[in-house]
């Protein structure tokens, strides 16, 4: 199965080149959690991310208990300050 993750902000540049829109399809197995999925992304592990799952903010402690499906809307962000 496949789900598309959107990666925005500074994190975009850790992702494979050639996808300027920030959309990254990723394969997953039935029963996998959001935490397992995110672990497979080539993102730095020492950062705090903002993760949105179907428009809900997911706290770090919720990642391991959040199941995913193909139609999910998943966004990973590195918040920045405005200007």
């Amino acid at each position: 199965m496949q789900v598309t993750i959107k990666v925005f902000g500074k994190l975009r540049h850790y992702m494979p080149a050639g996808n300027s829109a920030g959309n990254y399809p990723i394969n997953f197995k039935l029963g996998e959690t959001l935490e397992q999925l995110l672990t497979r992304l080539p993102l730095p592990k020492d950062r705090a991310y903002l993760v949105l799952h179907n428009d809900n903010k997911i706290d770090v402690e919720q990642l391991a208990s959040t199941a995913i499906s193909e139609s999910d809307d998943i966004i990973v962000l590195a918040p920045v300050k405005g200007g």
Partner: protein, 605 residues
């Protein structure tokens, strides 16, 4: 020490230009730039004066670190009573002008009175003169700088000018320096225009001295090494934010009717950096202000085949492009997803001297008035001022810049415009100043920050970002807003930029630089008390100007209409719960007035 210890006082009524010693007691209490300029303004001027009268003063202020080797040490501010807000205005800019003014030997320039005829101020170190500006009055910022640059034949001369918007007293006219940096908010350019002052041209070779240069440079290098997370800001600029706010549902769209814009992918960093269907790429390179090691500025080109510039080769060159705030205001706020149209409107802001946030916010309000039928094509001169129309954005921006037709109405700002047409609730502003690109329903702390900011709605005077991205619960927000307001007041008074704070620096790094450059000991307690003193001084100015608790509020839409999507779905801004706690933390009474013991503690009584 890094203060020049002298100010330049320019009386436009008499034509006198006098150099005076800086009040060092005040410098030690208010540091410089925003704090020191505000202190001078309140000491010298009745805050109840008409902002566009000769009685208003214009303070051009540098900080102790402006013009030094400290990274981002090029900031300067304009402090005055703002025509947009009738409150204290402090508008902060970068570029190279501020450092040049400091290098000419001045901490502050205080401009008072009104010239009978248009003039410009020419400063070369201690040589100061007011010159006839008839050759540049009526010209754009870009034309003015070009003509004067040619006249003086000095490529290192720096200029801060108003365009026609300032001359025509547009309520959000700005002062533009170095072609595309600006003291942008609150209408400081209209104050300059009201005084018949077109430009300040400055060249400085005096330099800035430090009491212990070796120690200072070691500090600069050590602190620079800690700015270790700047790559994203250099590459994507502040525009990076647009995907964040859009994702969480905090991107004000169509005059805050919505909080998410479906056209974001046409305005974001990817869109800016990718070739369009003609093979044209908007972003050319990044740009940096004096001494900056980040370089967040966007240098962009409009597609020469785009309808906005097709027959206008003067706009085919690279210039200051969209930042996050201008992309929000000239894009999402108006429902426009055309990056070239928004870039063109941004170019006009730089060229004619207008604040893009307030221009976009006012056009958005006008589009909503048009949408509900409160204004019609009869009012707009035939222009269909519809949400989403790039053509309408371009045309009304041109009309406003040139003060033509309905553009004169847009130049009033959204508060005056919506009141005139019977719908004051449609102005997305605080104290008359238009919102920045954040929605106070999904970002509750930002809602409180907007409401309480001394210069009206603004995203740069508090730092609730991390907290707001983390939770929409309001517990602790009042303290976060209050404390960050104080800390930012200090940074805004130092000559440094806020953005290193998002690139690796902590408050301690700013403090270390100030302590390394200034005499005496600057520790964290002194930093926080200085910031709190500045905030309360600004509040005093506003109270004396006639503002009150009633002005610490938000538009009805943010207080009563729940957000439809995002992390703030179903929420309104809970300002009524946060504001009393905020006042208490500030040591203010229930009406928002600083209590006697608060004033005494801060040395303000």
């Amino acid at each position: 020490m890094s203060w020049q210890q002298q100010i330049l006082r320019v009386n436009l009524t008499t034509g006198n230009c006098d150099i005076e010693p800086l009040n060092m007691a005040w410098a030690n209490e208010y540091l410089g730039q925003r704090g020191l300029g505000s202190k001078y303004l309140l000491e010298e001027m009745d805050p109840s004066v008409d902002s566009l009268s000769a009685e208003n003063k214009l303070v051009i202020a540098t900080g102790p670190l402006t013009g030094t080797m400290a990274s981002t040490g090029g900031r300067w501010s304009v402090i005055t009573k703002g025509p947009l807000t009738d409150a204290i205005a402090c508008s902060n800019s970068g570029g190279k002008f501020g450092a040049e003014l400091k290098l000419a030997g001045y901490d502050l320039v205080i401009i008072e009175g009104k010239s009978e005829k248009p003039v410009y101020l020419h400063i070369e170190n201690e040589k100061v003169e007011l010159c006839d500006a008839s050759e540049v009055w009526g010209k754009t910022v870009w034309e003015t700088e070009g003509l004067l640059q040619k006249k003086y034949s000095d490529p290192l001369m720096r200029f801060a000018s108003i365009g026609q918007a300032g001359e025509d007293l547009c309520r959000y006219a700005c002062i533009v320096n170095d072609l595309h940096r600006a003291a942008g908010r609150s209408g400081v350019g209209a104050v300059m225009g009201s005084k018949n002052l077109k430009t300040i041209a400055v060249r400085g070779t005096v330099g800035v001295k430090s009491a212990n240069p070796e120690h200072f440079m070691k500090t600069v290098n050590a602190v620079n090494a800690r700015m270790n997370d700047r790559e994203g800001m250099s590459r994507d600029g502040t525009l990076d934010m647009i995907d964040v706010t859009n994702s969480i549902g905090s991107l004000p769209t169509r005059n805050n009717r919505q909080v998410r814009f479906e056209g974001t992918e046409k305005l974001n960093p990817s869109a800016m950096q990718s070739p369009n269907e003609n093979g044209h790429t908007n972003l050319i390179t990044n740009g940096a202000c004096f001494g900056c090691t980040i370089g967040c500025g966007r240098i962009c080109k409009i597609d020469p085949t785009h309808f906005s510039v097709k027959d206008k080769p003067q706009y085919h060159k690279a210039s200051g492009g969209l930042e996050y705030e201008s992309a929000y205001a000239l894009g999402a706020a108006c429902g426009v997803d055309d990056i070239d149209a928004a870039t063109y409107a941004g170019f006009l802001c730089n060229e004619y001297g207008m604040d893009p946030i307030s221009l976009g916010g006012t056009i958005a309000a006008a589009m909503e008035l048009f949408d509900i039928g409160a204004i019609t094509e009869k009012d707009t001169g035939g222009l269909k001022l519809e949400f989403g129309s790039a053509q309408a954005l371009v045309t009304i921006s041109e009309m406003t810049a040139r003060s033509e037709g309905f553009g004169k109405e847009i130049a009033m700002g959204s508060k005056r415009l919506t009141a005139k047409y019977g719908h004051p609730e449609l102005s997305m502003s605080v104290k008359g100043q238009e919102f920045a690109g954040y929605d106070g329903r999904s970002m509750q702390g930002m809602g409180l920050a907007y409401a309480t900011n001394n210069r009206g709605a603004c995203h740069m005077r508090a730092d609730p970002y991390e907290s707001d991205f983390d939770t929409t619960e309001i517990e602790g927000k009042a303290a976060i807003v209050k404390n960050s307001q104080d800390e930012i007041s200090f940074i805004d008074s130092s000559g440094l930029c806020l953005f290193p704070g998002g690139c690796g620096w902590t408050l301690s790094d700013y403090l270390e630089l100030v302590d390394g450059a200034c005499e005496g000991t600057w520790d964290m307690d002194r930093l926080k008390q200085t910031g709190e003193r500045i905030w309360n001084l600004e509040r005093q100015f506003n109270l004396l100007a006639g503002l009150s608790r009633a002005d610490d509020t938000l538009p009805k839409r943010i207080l009563e209409e729940p957000a439809e999507v995002g992390i703030g779905k179903g929420l309104v801004c809970r300002l009524g719960e946060m504001l009393p706690e905020y006042y208490e933390l500030r040591g203010w009474d229930e009406e928002g007035r600083p209590k006697a013991d608060t004033l005494a503690r801060l040395g303000l009584n």
